[in-house]
Symmetry: C2
Subunit: 171 residues, 2 copies
DNA sequence: GGTATTCACTTGAACCTTCAAGCAATAACC
DNA sequence: GGTTATTGCTTGAAGGTTCAAGTGAATACC
């Protein structure tokens, strides 16, 4: 029984267009490649700086924000993480002294995360390794044309999916 | 031509080439897009068939194998999962009756996972939804040219990363 | 002004993955 | 043939994410 096989029987439901062998191959390459790439980048940061890829991304976002501070909800949605996930992650990072949390002055419900000196230093130390990895394992490896295509493709994917889900914790 | 590294501007730290804004944007689109896409496909399968994306992939691999059976190690590496992860996942799937495990006749250490009737039916039921999702959210959405580029890109990524890591559980 | 609803975030349990042993079976060595 | 190393898979605990429920502040309603 081969679900992916290109051979078709006339009895097949009309509204399901299977992937042809080329598409199949590309899809699987993307699945496996992404798995390996994320794992590798995560491991590089983890071994050297005891930092996961998502923690790194949090540091980056904060470092780019005015005054190095951001509302939790904004940070969460910019990373496409659930609020809950961000709460846990930021709590751990706060215990390590990489960020501090404080409640918003203008909205008592809101919480802002701020990059600490220590968090900034760690980011500065980790960034070269990470960027080198991204270049070596993706950007430079696949070349400008294909990398640009990857960018275009996933911008469309993001747009399509963000459109459907107007924020909520339901994610 | 320089043998060890491409030429760089003298002022920059010699071994760090940052991402330019375009590259940065593409990289983040890929990160966010992949997060959202995986989450969505996983959720679709989960809600309707109580099946995760990786469980689904296991069913697919088995369905394509001769006699619907595969050695655990082969299955693991074809999915780029750790052996340990596969053990746990397959154990859960066995409890649900989707697969059965049996030890290899020719190698007493080896274990083979076999797709059950029930597992096959579940796959057949789930496949249309999943394939539709992959098409709608990626393949058809981005068009043939860019999707082909994604395939090429991640085949290179996979090759580069698989080459480095000759299998082991160290993953 | 008081109640109800919504919003922003947190909490703790359940679940999955990773990590570091652990256990058999096989292969290698002498 | 008997010891040792390696291979193939499993196990249980640790760690992170998700899910559902919970807290407190702001807003809406009357």
């Amino acid at each position: 029984m081969s679900i992916s096989s290109p051979s078709r029987t006339p009895a097949e439901p009309p509204d399901v267009a299977w992937l042809d062998p080329q598409e199949q191959r590309a899809w699987r390459a993307y699945l496996v490649g992404t798995t390996l790439l994320m794992e590798r980048l995560d491991r590089e940061l983890g071994e050297t700086f005891d930092l996961s890829l998502s923690e790194y991304e949090i540091l980056v976002r904060l470092s780019e924000a005015p005054e190095n501070r951001m509302r939790m909800a904004v940070l969460a949605s910019s990373l496409s993480h659930s609020r809950s996930r961000l709460t846990h992650t930021v709590k751990r990072m706060e215990l390590r002294g990489l960020v501090v949390r404080s409640s918003c002055s203008d909205d008592g419900r809101g919480v802002e995360a701020t990059l600490t000196e220590e968090g900034g230093s760690l980011l500065a130390a980790a960034a070269p390794l990470h960027v080198r990895g991204v270049r070596r394992l993706l950007v430079d490896l696949v070349g400008p044309a294909d990398f640009a295509a990857v960018g275009r493709a996933f911008e469309q994917v993001s747009d399509a999916l963000v459109a459907g889900h107007p924020d909520a914790d339901i994610r």
